[in-house]
Symmetry: C2
Subunit: 176 residues, 2 copies
């Protein structure tokens, strides 16, 4: 049997080892937290393009940002851009003389054609808005929306802006 | 001073604590490895849409997959789709009677107009291919390419396929 002094030394050694293991665990734990944040970020809405310019208050409720990708010309007759809607942000009601195609690249939002129920739209969805039909689109209340818009046949015109989507209109969240 | 037996009991207790801390460290470490893999995956080419159907060998070299988003009709006169080019894959030379707009959503690739140098294209880039101009596009040798294509004014036609891009043509990698 070993002496009490030897055991006391061993206890000190064991304590040091415990502290070392604890320190390693803390470092690993701290690393995990950092990575967890990165992972949490990846659940947020991802951007392909720069944020762009804030949409004017006369056409948008909340913070919506437009980044132009293809300007109108007589060769392609097509306007393309990206809009990032912050949570709760949405366009006014509006029409396109030649219709519009929306391609959702991330996030969650809504699209509504006048007189029809709101549609939930998500990453990968494609929405067609027929010519001269009143509609609006925007983010959900909790999650932003990244959408590409394509306006074809711009020789007929691009967009006609109408009234804002009221909080009451916006609050009718689709079921399911 | 405590008895040797008491110290032995304490040593066993200390060992159990060490094992417990070590187990916690291992669990945290395992969690970190799992998260690291998720992070590493995020460096790969990201998909917004399903992979789609393999492009036919008569129009593509290597593995290119097309996922149709908007079919041709007389309302929008616009065709939209996504192509994922695996590393090394590319289209044949081809023309569009009304031109084409490419929007790169992830990865790295090349675009070339006949008689002009190859252009490197990356996430966020927009490429316009004028009407009736021979061009090709595809992935880099090492990294895949995710691209949306928009063909406007389809009343004039959609695409005319030509000869394959040879390995020699493909191997002239742009500088910088």
């Amino acid at each position: 049997m070993q002496s009490p002094i030897s055991n006391t030394v061993k206890n000190r050694y064991a304590m040091k080892r415990q502290l070392f293991i604890l320190a390693v665990a803390c470092v690993i734990g701290a690393g995990c937290n950092e990575k967890k944040n990165v992972m949490d970020d990846s659940k947020e809405v991802q951007a392909i393009f720069p944020k762009g310019d804030k949409g004017p208050a006369e056409n948008f409720t909340g913070n919506a940002y437009n980044y132009s990708l293809v300007n109108n010309d007589s060769v392609y007759n097509t306007v393309v851009g990206n809009v990032y809607f912050e949570p709760g942000a949405r366009s006014n009601w509006h029409t396109h003389p030649s219709g519009q195609i929306l391609i959702i690249t991330d996030g969650v939002g809504y699209h509504q054609i006048k007189g029809e129920p709101m549609q939930t739209i998500r990453k990968g969805d494609v929405v067609k808005c027929p010519p001269n039909v009143e509609h609006w689109h925007g983010a959900s209340a909790d999650t932003g929306l990244q959408q590409l818009y394509i306006v074809p046949n711009t020789e007929k015109g691009v967009v006609n802006w109408l009234q804002a989507v009221t909080d009451e209109e916006y609050s009718i969240v689709p079921k399911g």
